[in-house]
């Protein structure tokens, strides 16, 4: 099968969901004629009409809040947040309404809302355009959080997220939008993690933009004689703990890698769980290679700030030194 970019895979996935279910709507800023600033919704308004692909007024709380109402009415809204840093005006509607409505109504109301967020850095952008806010959302019960790292997952996971009767925040690694790959014939379940490289010495668990980076690091480490297992987490809430724990029980060593700030993050939680559930298997503490606990830097410094192959290799050395 021909290779497609992640952007195209997402576009195809969205199209498929819209064809399959007339209740699926796309809404957001510039998602119509422009096709979104990353062109993920390219051509969809033309083909499905302005009623189903909606250019909204410029307000994120409004986008999410109206999606809640549409969901109550039986629709399946897919909201695009233009950039990671712009989701926060919609934070209240997400954590206090989207996340809670199902519980509040004792299960009578469903919130099959998908919130797409292009996230992460490495594209030379200005402030608020390179953030990784997934940890904020993973704290909230009622939400499910996933991230894709390749075109095939992008294609399948976006459809699964839209089909989910629970709300899903879907993090798209924007700097990998143009990377190409083949589309698998069938999907894995949405909420499983995947070992994308088997190895015996150290487990590296990551997701989204850094899966590629971790695989590169694993190749370099192999030259240095270290056999790295790489897990693409894919699902960040819930976690797929069996996959992670099996791997750690085998390697005895875990490094969690993400761009998000370290403090109170996805990697904190994984470290906390793994040290609890695999206490006797760990030969070294769980290490973390993450964004530093500073503001995302001006783009001239983002390469230094972001986790990269060198920083992962350094952590490999450190964990092996225990």
């Amino acid at each position: 099968m021909a290779e497609v970019t992640m952007a195209k895979a997402l576009n195809n996935g969205l199209r498929k969901s819209m064809e399959d279910d007339p209740k699926v709507l796309i809404m957001g800023e510039d998602v119509g004629k422009l096709g979104g600033v990353f062109r993920i919704t390219d051509g969809l308004q033309k083909d499905f009409g302005e009623d189903r692909v909606i250019d909204t007024p410029l307000a994120e709380s409004g986008i999410i809040g109206t999606a809640v109402g549409l969901a109550i009415r039986g629709y399946r809204p897919v909201c695009e947040i233009q950039f990671d840093g712009f989701v926060f005006p919609g934070f209240d509607q997400i954590v206090s309404q989207v996340a809670k409505m199902h519980t509040r109504s004792a299960g009578h109301v469903r919130m099959p809302i998908t919130i797409r967020i292009p996230f992460g850095g490495g594209i030379g952008a200005v402030e608020h355009h390179s953030e990784s806010p997934e940890s904020y959302f993973a704290h909230a019960p009622g939400l499910k959080i996933v991230s894709c790292s390749n075109p095939s997952d992008a294609y399948w996971m976006i459809q699964q997220s839209i089909a989910s009767d629970d709300p899903v925040i879907f993090f798209e690694p924007k700097r990998r939008y143009w990377a190409k790959g083949e589309i698998a014939d069938a999907p894995d379940p949405l909420h499983i993690s995947r070992v994308v490289r088997t190895g015996a010495d150290v487990t590296v668990a990551t997701y989204g933009p850094l899966v590629t980076t971790a695989l590169e690091a694993a190749r370099v480490a192999a030259d240095e004689g270290h056999d790295i297992e790489v897990i693409d987490l894919r699902t960040l809430s819930p976690f797929d703990m069996p996959t992670v724990l099996d791997s750690v029980r085998k390697t005895g060593r875990l490094i969690v890698v993400h761009e998000a700030w370290r403090n109170v993050s996805i990697s904190s939680e994984l470290a906390a769980r793994v040290q609890e559930k695999a206490f006797y298997s760990l030969e070294a503490p769980v290490l973390r290679v993450t964004g530093y606990d500073t503001q995302y830097p001006p783009s001239r410094l983002e390469e230094e700030w972001l986790p990269n192959v060198d920083r992962i290799l350094d952590a490999v050395d450190r964990t092996l030194s225990y």
Binding site: G69, L70, R73
Partner: protein, 373 residues
């Protein structure tokens, strides 16, 4: 030196069809054809929802409810607007709309769970087309707008078919008018001409803050600058509220877009049973507003102007007694939730890790209970 804003005129251009003295007046834009029997039915509603309120306050005092948000003084605003709804219209309340719930056919006991702490709402919005209460101020205005967008996409506006055309009615307070969400709901509904009616009960207070803390101009004027009409109605006049809401809902159903209604009324009780208004409210104000009581004027009309059958008031009083008993007995009988129910509706599909937490939790609670036994 003049300020850009002048003092708020207390009651500008307010639509009134029944004076505080119980006299019917006409308004050219809001003709209301209504029989005396229908007015009597509204009277019954008013009395019964006030009774629900009284009973709930008593139950709170007795420790049966943790909290109650009283509607006293706002009965007409709620019954007038609630009775303007058709069955397939949808209502989005804030947390004080017990009177609207009544109009929708929601059993008052259904509302008590939240205040008793046995659930967080816990009912289906679909059963009576009445959404669960929303406590985060203003959030529901966007939900209503989104729902109305769904109505449009379902082709359920402007068809001319009364069984099909659907409107959405959303309630919020004067304080809520300051929230970003409410103003975004105005933006959205105007931009897409959504069939939604914004019903602001201006009860003059947001807890301790007078409405002048929110705005120095009347709230009904807010909508014009967003591109849709606003109107102030005497919120203590059930007839005017009915007429004005009916017109706005008709407009919405016939694809003419949103309306903002400001129902000018007064919160005659503390904000909730936890509040102490002596710190901020003048007793005088309460006295003034007592003269405008929403029920007294209907009773005056029915007594003096209409040929209300003898015995009607007694019937209502008996019904009110029965309702009170239903509430008192029913409240105490509300089932306590089971601990494991906490985990039930977090998700539609419960993740394995949460199931694990639930099982640990249930086992732990049981172990403690056993130890205590």
């Amino acid at each position: 030196m003049t300020e850009h804003v002048h003092a708020v005129h207390p009651e500008p251009d307010m639509i009134q069809l029944l004076t505080p003295e119980g006299l019917r007046v006409e308004h050219p834009d809001y003709p209301l054809e209504i029989t005396d029997d229908e007015i009597a039915a509204l009277y019954r509603d008013l009395v019964l929802v006030r009774r629900i309120d009284t009973e709930a306050i008593a139950l709170q005092r007795q420790g049966e409810l943790g909290l109650w948000a009283s509607l006293l003084g706002q009965e007409a605003a709620q019954i007038g607007s609630g009775r303007a709804l058709r069955a397939h219209d949808m209502a989005f309340p804030s947390y004080r709309e017990h009177g609207v719930a009544w109009c929708r056919g929601v059993d008052p006991l259904t509302l008590l769970g939240l205040f008793r702490g046995t659930n967080l709402g816990g009912f289906s919005p679909y059963e009576h087309n009445f959404n669960t209460y929303t406590i985060v101020i203003g959030a529901q205005t966007l939900h209503a707008t989104g729902y109305a967008m769904g109505v449009m996409r379902d082709g359920a506006v402007g068809t001319g078919d009364p069984d099909r055309d659907t409107a959405v009615l959303v309630y919020f307070g004067d304080g809520a008018s300051s929230q970003g969400d409410v103003n975004e709901a105005f933006v959205w509904s105007a931009a897409c001409n959504a069939p939604v009616v914004f019903f602001c009960q201006n009860n003059q207070w947001a807890i301790s803050e007078p409405v002048t803390t929110q705005s120095r101009v009347p709230l009904y004027r807010r909508s014009a600058g967003f591109g849709f009409p606003g109107i102030r109605v005497d919120g203590n006049d059930v007839l005017a509220t009915l007429a004005v809401t009916r017109k706005a809902l008709d407009d919405a159903r016939s694809a003419q877009g949103p309306t903002l209604i400001e129902a000018f009324t007064y919160r005659m009780n503390p904000h909730t049973t936890s509040d102490d208004p002596t710190r901020y409210q003048l007793a005088d104000d309460l006295e003034t507003w007592k003269l405008k009581d929403p029920i007294a004027r209907v009773k005056a009309y029915l007594t003096r102007q209409a040929s209300t059958p003898s015995g009607f008031f007694d019937d209502v009083e008996r019904e009110s007694q029965k309702l009170a008993e239903h509430i008192r007995a029913g409240c105490r009988a509300l089932p306590n939730p089971t601990p494991e129910s906490i985990f039930d509706a977090v998700y539609e599909e419960m993740p394995a890790e949460l199931r694990e937490q639930r099982d640990e939790f249930v086992a732990f609670v049981e172990s403690i209970e056993e130890a205590t036994v």
